[in-house]
Amino acid sequence: MQISNRDANGVVVVLPVGSIDATTAAEFSSHIDNLVSSGSTRLVADLAGVDYTSSAGLRVLLGAAKATRAQAGDIRLAAVRADVLKVLTLSGFTSILQLFDDVDAAIASFA
């Protein structure tokens, strides 16, 4: 899995590419942890490059939501692919996380 960041008006956009499952979740989780511990708590996960997330990926997203919200921030999801959206919907994540069609809308939601 490849993960990169970019800053956008005080919001950090995280771009994971690949699948988030038991083999990659630890790397993704560590990446988020580092951002939060360095004070970045307003995050947008641009999931356009994520073709799959398993239960391990869901746990990372929930952990990220807890960690950021504990510091008055949030993680918001953008550009979620259909297959990933299906998993998010089935597991109830669409009601506990905010999803946006594109990254710009997700960034703007923090304003």
Binding site: D21, Y52, S54, S55, L58, R59, K86, V87, S91, F93
Partner: protein, 284 residues
Amino acid sequence: MRPAVSTRPRVTLVIGSGGVKCAAAIGLWSVLTEAGIAVDSVVGCSGGSLYGAAVAGGWSAEKMRSLSESLWTDDVMQGYRENLKASRDGSLRFNDRSGLVDDTVLNQNLERIYGDLQFADLDLPLKLVATDLYRGDKVILSQGSVRQAIRASIAIPIIFPPWEIDGRLLTDGGASDPLPVDVAIQDGADIIIAMGFTLSYRTRMRSITAVQEQLTSIYTNNILNATYAFHNLAHHAEIFPVIPELDEQVSMFDVDKIPAVIEKGAAATREQLPHITRLLQSAG
């Protein structure tokens, strides 16, 4: 000398409730078999019990297809209309052992398909889920007669009479745990391949039974979503959901749609296959 400890992940197949849609499990099993993916145990609920038992018994896909045709015969719903009418005019007194369907044909069909097959005879460990009609809790069936356990697990409330096993009156497993991934987790599964189905909603309701069926669908779908969400987050097992996308509404006894349902099950499994394979390879 100590025996070598296997590091291979334990894989469990879970087939949830969904009536005729559960035939999609035939497509799933065909794809997994072709890909050489072995499972260590099987869990089934309601309609998923029919196919879970077949997988655990080592049945071929062709034999599973004939299972569907042999079970959902034209006369399996015998008595429904008459009993429904009688329940309305008061001539049928409904009680805890009643169903609108006379289950004679269903029981005969199950006997013809599964005979005296015992859990102990199966190639793989199998657990089937039913619901205690009086206590409301999930009941896991894993010993004795497979046919009896299936009969209890598929006892659709109000439609089929409940079934008694060991002094407990049991009804459809979907009433307590429509996609029982928790049973697989309890058994120590590392990887769970979970085929689940949401129940279709009606677009109009013009009778009390239609409203009742709609409410059952709503309850069941919400139980499925809530339990699936919880088990995804509360445990460390890796769960691969396989959710067939059916183009048209498939009601409980749309037997003519089974070939299309099987293909949808295969297609949904093929979508997950690269992810399952990658995880198995990385773990193995």
